[in-house]
Point group: C2
């Protein structure tokens, strides 16, 4: 790395510390940034700083937003009695893209993972329980990932939600639409079989 | 993209305008940056701004550096009578990594490309000619890429350097070390044949 002068080396090191950016991409990015007009570079750094400073948790669903209450929680058009529990803001966005879900969300910001030492207290589960107590909630839809951590989290949530008497469901697991059975792993195939629906 | 709040959307848009960063990577980066400690974010933006403001062309070889004269041009240990001509600072770094070249460089910042409308005047060729006139140069080694543009640039440089009487050479083109003949294109194979050396 010391084939470049100090400032370039620093920039490359800084960029390659970001996720998904290896040393080659970091070099490419660094030279691109150095060649950008200064106003564009200022715009880039201001956008980064502003997003970091202004983005916070929505006080209801805890998604990342730049307002006190995110647009979904603030909307009258959404059904506030149905809460979909997701692991991250990106998962929330994935469901929003479908355009068909009209309930609200709760973002856990993680999943239970004994391997990584992440327990129920390390994710936003307590906040979910507070919402269930004070709001009129009819259903909790657990939409954590279909990974080991996601499943463990789903199991845990269902155990704590059930005693409240609120309906608790889990999104279906099975063959993705357009998926070719031949290439799908056994666990998914078995899940799809277990979750079969009557025609 | 409007599934996220404005500041997040802006940040994602800004990041995905950088080369090699698609919309998925930009999302991942944006959420990473939002989750970073504020001092680290400030350090990132300051490094970007500082590199952009302080990096300039070396007044001798025109490589990107943060000093008036780059470390290579400023060094007594380098042979200033041999100039290797490269297309970019990254190509210079590639040769520096070998640790075996002890001459100096000249960075063209591009290659002649009639397709893209880049002519000899759009790259730092005039600056090379000025160096050849005022410095005592024994050899010019042309190390532009082995692409159509790189070859065209090499041809052009050799034509303008030859009348000065300075020795002019081109780095060898052929089978890469460790390369399997079976998988190498015909043009490279023919080049390797033409450039064969007596054993």
């Amino acid at each position: 790395m010391n084939y470049y002068s100090e400032q370039i080396t620093n920039l490359i090191a800084e960029l390659s510390s970001l996720p998904g950016i290896g040393s080659k991409s970091a070099q490419r990015l660094a030279f691109h940034i150095i060649g950008m007009p200064i106003e564009k570079v200022n715009h880039l750094t201001e956008t980064i700083t502003s997003a970091r400073q202004n983005v916070r948790y929505c006080k209801e669903c805890l998604t990342l937003t730049d307002r006190e209450l995110c647009p979904i929680c603030a909307s009258d058009k959404r059904d506030h009695s149905v809460i979909m529990v997701v692991e991250s803001t990106r998962d929330l966005a994935a469901y929003e893209k479908t355009g068909k879900y009209d309930g609200v969300y709760h973002v856990l910001h993680g999943a239970i993972s004994p391997m990584l030492g992440i327990g129920p207290r390390d994710i936003k589960l307590k906040e979910l329980m507070v919402r269930l107590q004070k709001e009129e909630v009819k259903e909790v839809i657990i939409a954590t990932n279909s990974s080991v951590e996601g499943e463990a989290t789903a199991m845990f949530i269902s155990k704590v939600v059930k005693p409240t008497g609120i309906k608790c469901s889990r999104i279906a697991s099975g063959v993705p639409v357009g998926g070719d059975l031949e290439y799908i792993d056994e666990v998914t195939l078995l899940r799809a079989l277990e979750g079969r629906t009557q025609l």
